[in-house]
Symmetry: none
């Protein structure tokens, strides 16, 4: 259990209406400056960007989240980028972009032969690297969508409902259907992903709207109320969304599948 101190997790900032893509990107570089530079490029574009300073941290993150593209420095302390490339390539379709300080042609060739998809040399041009990432994301997501085509038709169970994730629709056991709004759906998703764990309003706000929360802000409460209403919570029992006074909300473990 290390690392979370150095691991930088950031979501896109301001242009929240226009989330151009929901792609997840991982930046791996031991230089703080370069890592930050790259991270900020992609945040600008609306990607969900995570970063790590070495291969071990990277692997930890990769094991936990389904990333679309990894930007990987070739020279890393400990396990180097090429080794990681080879490991990643066997057994996943993730997009790999190697980043290096050297114009060295041999590095480039070996990188490509290890199965990297792209190769970018420092100093890099933001526009170029963005174009490459965008192309690669497109391809990877295309592949993923084809692979999982007739998989995961299974809808998720919550309370007495089945959740149709594509339509943002609750399907009642009695045949009733309730349409969730995008906000309600996302809230439910976040609670579902952290089932049994209390989420503070601050955390929820960050995950839902990528913005900060202040003490006078009741929007989360209202959103929870709306979701509860649609889940037909009678405020008495059958309570799925539990209020933790002074802390936040959590989804009762019994609510899951």
């Amino acid at each position: 259990m290390v690392g979370s101190a150095v691991v930088v997790v950031k979501w896109k900032g301001l242009k929240s209406a226009m989330l151009t893509s929901d792609a997840k990107i991982l930046v791996v570089d031991d230089s703080d400056v370069i890592r930050q530079t790259l991270v900020s490029y992609f945040e600008e574009e609306g990607y969900a960007v995570f970063s790590a300073a070495n291969a071990e941290q990277a692997e930890e993150l990769l094991a936990r989240e389904p990333f679309d593209v990894v930007l990987l420095d070739i020279r890393l302390p400990g396990k180097d980028g090429l080794t990681l490339t080879r490991e990643l390539r066997t057994g996943s379709e993730i997009g790999i972009i190697l980043v290096t300080g050297r114009q060295d042609e041999l590095d480039r060739i070996i990188g490509l032969e290890c199965g990297a998809d792209e190769y970018v040399a420092k100093p890099f041009n933001p526009r170029e690297i963005l174009a490459r990432v965008k192309n690669l994301v497109r391809r990877v997501q295309r592949l993923r969508s084809l692979e999982t085509r007739d998989a995961e038709t299974e809808s998720i169970r919550v309370g007495g409902w089945n959740l149709d994730a594509h339509r943002r629709l609750l399907l009642g056991d009695d045949g009733e259907t309730v349409q969730l709004t995008e906000g309600e759906y996302q809230l439910l998703q976040v609670l579902l992903q952290n089932i049994g764990k209390t989420m503070s309003r601050d955390q929820l706000m960050d995950r839902l709207k990528h913005r900060a929360w202040d003490a006078t802000d009741r929007s989360i409460d209202v959103l929870v109320a709306r979701l509860r209403k649609k889940l037909r919570e009678d405020a008495s029992h059958t309570q799925q969304i539990v209020t933790v006074h002074g802390v936040g909300y959590l989804l009762s473990p019994a609510s899951g599948r």
Copy 2:
């Protein structure tokens, strides 16, 4: 009807037992020397290599054979490589590698933004270009194999219609026929390929036109409206294309075959 005189078609020579791949590659370059050089690299590796000296010849070949990867000189007499890239990218998953004589960074960026997969500058290193081609072939063939899994059933069922993919024609059960435009047809194809899954306007834009979408852009909405009209959706029931507010559109699973 020209060209077949200049079109060079070659297959790997002797080491036929060790055919590393049955990938088809097309080399497009107006310089005989460079074309020959590239062709011989790939023949060595056991690819089926075809070549063309200009965009028109290339298109002729592309229309006839299912290539995996095209190597394209940016500077071509007549229609240039970038234009061809853009045309190829809309409506096919072929791998595109741009080749250029200049180290010009701008060329490279514009190429990538047009949707090229790779970019190689002359003078090129054989080993590098082979590595890139190999990676790209792997990806393209992977995609193809997934794509063709259940595609091409000639006539696809959608709603109360049969879709004649060749003529982009809807054949009604009552004998009625409706002609789709190219855009409407492609939209329907993409929705069909991702049946039951919500596609964001951004994704649709990318698949249809290979360009970005911004929040003020209503062209997808208009296209959907036109397709809906032709599918005779009465906005009430029999609704095949479902709007998911704040997210995108999806084709109802019930619409499929």
